[in-house]
Amino acid sequence: MTRQSDTTATGGLTRRGFLKGAVASAASLVIGVQLPGKAWAEDGVAPAASAFAPNAFVRIDPDSIVTVIVKHIEFGQGPVTGLSTLVAEELDADWLQMRAELAPADASKYSNKLFGLQGTGGSTAMASSYEPMRKAGAAARAVLVQAAADRWGVDPREITITRGTLTDAAGAHKASFGDLVADASKLEVPSDPQLKSPDDFHLIGTQVGKLDTPEKSNGKQIFTLDHYPDDMVVATILHPPQFGATVKSVDDSATRAVKGVIGVKTVPAGVAVYAENTHAALKGRKALKVDWDSSGAETRSSQQMERDYSKATKKPGLDARNDGDVEKALNSADTVLEAEYFFPFLAHAPMETLDAVIQFKGGQVTARMGSQIQTVDRGAIAQVFGVDQGKVMLYTEYAGGSFGRRAQPGGEFATEAAQVAKALGSDRPVKLMWTRENDIQGGRYRPLALYRVRGALDKDGKVVAWDQQIAVQSFMKGTAFESAMVKDGIDSTAVGGSAELPYAIPNLRVGQHLMENGVPTLWWRSVEHTHNAYVNETFLDELFERAGTDPVEGRLALLGNEHPRHSGVLKKVAEMAKEAGDVPEGRQRGVAVHKSFGSYVAEIAEVSEGAGGEPRVHRMWCAVDCGVPVNPDVIRAQMEGGMGYGIGAVLYDAISLSDGGYVEQSNFDRYRAIRIHEMPDIEVEVIRSTEPPTGVGEPGTPPSGPAIANAWRRLTGKSVHRLPLVPITA
C-alpha cells in the first residue's frame, strides 16, 4: 500500500501530526488545579511533571489560544464544549479563542471525582467537573491578572478582563492572554482561587456553539477508525456464534488465498484475520471455516430465558424496599391489577463500531481507541502485553457514539484488541475493526428483564399497594464497580429508579431476583432506568385509568410536597402540551416522569396509529431540570437524542436468541434503528435551576418509552407489557 499525498483533502501528513497526541508549543502557560504549585511553561508534550499532579489542565499559548484538556471521552454528549465553557467563564475568555483536547489515560491526573478512576459514565462529566474546571479557569485568570499588575505597576484589583483582553482601570494599558504567557509562567498559581458568583456568569447558561461542530460537519473530525499510521495492518475478527463457545479448529486455507491477507490467528475471542487493507481483511474473514466448541456456551433461547425469569418472579425476591404490608393490602383491596412485563436484550449499536489501533514496539505500547474507562482499558492492555501500565500510552479518541457500549468495567474490548495486536507477533500497528455483525451479535446488551407487578386501589380509587418483582441479570458482579454498585446484595443497576419510587404509596415492595445468564450484558443508555421507569410509569398510568384519575393530577397528588423537582417538570410539560392546543382527532397523549442521574425529566408523547398499524409518534414535549443549565442548547440536544434513542428502542428494537443460543439479528436490516421519518417533533424546556448541574446524556431516555406506551394504550385500549411495541418480524 502506498500512501497518496496528492489527494485533495485529508492526507497522511496531517494524520501523522495528529498521531503525536496532545502537544503544547514552547512557552505556553499550563495551569493545573487543586494542588498548589508553580505555573510553568512546558516545551513539547503535555504536562508530565509529577510534582504538579493536577487533575485538569488549561493551556494558554502565546497566540492567546486557550486549550482545555478534557479528561472525558467525547461521543456527542458535549463534555468538550461543556467543560470548556466552565473554564472560559471563569477566565473571562472570548469563546472564539477556546479549543479542547482529549487527555491521554493517566488516572493520577484525570480521575473522575465521582469514580476514583478515569472514566466517563452515568452522565457524570459535568457533575464531577463543575467545580474543578471552574477553578482551573479562575486560577489561570488570577495568574494572568497578577502578571499584568506586575508589568503595569497597578493593583491587581484594578484589572478587568473582557472577552480575553486585560485592561487597567485608567485605560492606560491593554494586553491579550498571549502577551502575558511568559510572565505568568513564572508566577505561583493560587490553589483556591475566588470563583465568580453565578449572577456574573456570561457564558454558563447561554448558548455557545459546540467546539467540535465544524469538523463534524465537514468530515475532518478524526475517529479511531480514521487513523492510518505508517505500515498499519487491518484486522477483522470472527466471534463464536454462541456466547461462551470457543474455537475447536480452523480451516484458513481459503482465507490465506485472499490477496492482501497476511495472517490468521486464533485468539481467546475468536479468529483474527490480518490484511494489508480492510477489503482483504473482510473477504478473508468471510472465507474462514471454523469448528466451534459449544460445550460451555449459553444455549437457551430468549423465550426459554423468559420462562425461567417468569417462574422466578412468582415468589418474592430480595427486598430492595418494603414499606407497610403489601400482601395484606393487596388481599384486602377493592381492585387489584396484575401484569407481567418483558424487556428484550438490546444492543447499543453506536454508529462507529468498536475499534482500536494498537502498536507494540520497543517494549512500549501505543493504543488509540474510544476508551470510556481509561484506567481499566489501560490496565487491560498492559496485562496482555505483560508490561507496566507506564509503558502503555493510551490515547482517548473521539468516538462515534457509545450509549454505554464503550464503558466496559472488565476492559473486554481493550483486551481483545490487545490480544489481536499481540498475536500477529509484529511491531506493525494493528487496527482491529469490528463489523456491524460483530457489534449486533457481540453481546454486552441491555439485560433481558422480566417484571411481575401488582397494584391495588381502594374504593376511592387511591393507590394503596404496589408490588414489583424484578428479574434481571447483574452485570456488576465480579467487576471493579461491584462494591460501589451492589450493597447488601441489592444491585442498584437492577433496581434503581424503582427502589426510590417517589410516589406516596403506603404499602410498597420492590423485590430483586438476580438471574444467571451466559449472555454478557452491560449498561445501556440510562442503565436500569429504561426498564424501571417503563414499568413504573405505565403501570401507574393503568391504575389511574382504572380509577378515573387524571394522569398528571394523579401523579402530582402522589408526589405531594416531598418531590418539588419531579412536580416542577411535570407541571411544566403539561403546560407545554396544553399550549400546543387540543389533541387532534385520531391521536392520544401519554405522560411520564422520571428522575435519573440526578436529573428530573417529564415527557408527553402524542401518538396515532400509522401505516401497517404501527404507532406513529408525532410530537413530544420534554421538561428537564438538571440543575444549573451550563449550556441549554447542549441539554436540549441531549434530550432530543436521548428521546430518539428511547423511542427507537421501545418501538422497534430487540435482540432475540433462537434455540441453541444464536442471535437472530446481525445488522441494521433486522435490528431496526429509528430513522428520520419516524422521529417526532420535539420541544424541550430547560428549567432555570440553581442546583448543582447533573447529567444530561441519559435522563432524556427513560420517560420516552412509557409516555408513548401510555398514549398508545389510551388510543387503542391495548396495554404494552411486552417490548418492542412493533413486534419483530423474523
Partner: protein
C-alpha cells in the same frame, strides 16, 4: 489492475482488486476518511458519496463500477448548496458524535440540488436512508429547511 476515475476534481487511479468497495478505496487507498463505515450492507448511509452527481452507498459499490466515473466525497464537496447545508449544520449544532454526519451532509446536499425547497415529506424521503444513532433528526430537518431558506434570499 489500475482503475481510473475522477475523485474530488482530480484524475486518479487506484491499483486495487476490482471487487473492492469504493468505500475502502477512498479510505484505505486515498485516506479520505470523512466517508465512514457503519454497516457494509447499504442500510445506514454513513458511507454516502456522490457518484456522477447522485448519492451512492460506497460500501456496496465495487470500484470496477466506478471506472471512468466522477466521485465526490465530503472532503471535495462544494457549491452553494453544500455550503448552505454545512453552514446550517454549524448554526444549529446538528452533530453529536458526528460519525454519521458526512453521510447526512452528502444526502442533504444532493436533496437541495434536486429540490431547492423541500417539504418535510421530501426530507423524509431523501434522508430516510441515513441512520443517526444519536438521533439528531430534529436538527437535521431544521437545518435542511434553514439551508434552503438561506439560498432563496
Amino acid at each position: 489492475m489500475a482503475i481510473r476515475f475522477e475523485l474530488n476534481g482530480k484524475e486518479v487511479s487506484a491499483d486495487v482488486e476490482p471487487d473492492t468497495p469504493l468505500l475502502w478505496v477512498l479510505r484505505d487507498h486515498f485516506w479520505l476518511t470523512g466517508t465512514k463505515f457503519g454497516c457494509g450492507i447499504a442500510q445506514c448511509g454513513a458511507c454516502t458519496v456522490h457518484l456522477n452527481g447522485l448519492t451512492r452507498r460506497s460500501c456496496i459499490t465495487p470500484i470496477s463500477r466506478v471506472e471512468g466515473g466522477t466521485v465526490t466525497t465530503i472532503e471535495g464537496i462544494s457549491g452553494e448548496e453544500a455550503r448552505a447545508i454545512q453552514d446550517a449544520w454549524v448554526a444549529l449544532d446538528v452533530p453529536q458524535c458526528g460519525f454519521c454526519q458526512s453521510g447526512q451532509v452528502m444526502s442533504a446536499t444532493a436533496l437541495l440540488r434536486e429540490i431547492p425547497k423541500p417539504t418535510d415529506e421530501n426530507i423524509d424521503q431523501a434522508m430516510a436512508g441515513n441512520i443517526c444513532r444519536c438521533a439528531t433528526y430534529v436538527r437535521i430537518r431544521k437545518a435542511i429547511h434553514r439551508a434552503s431558506d438561506s439560498l432563496e434570499g
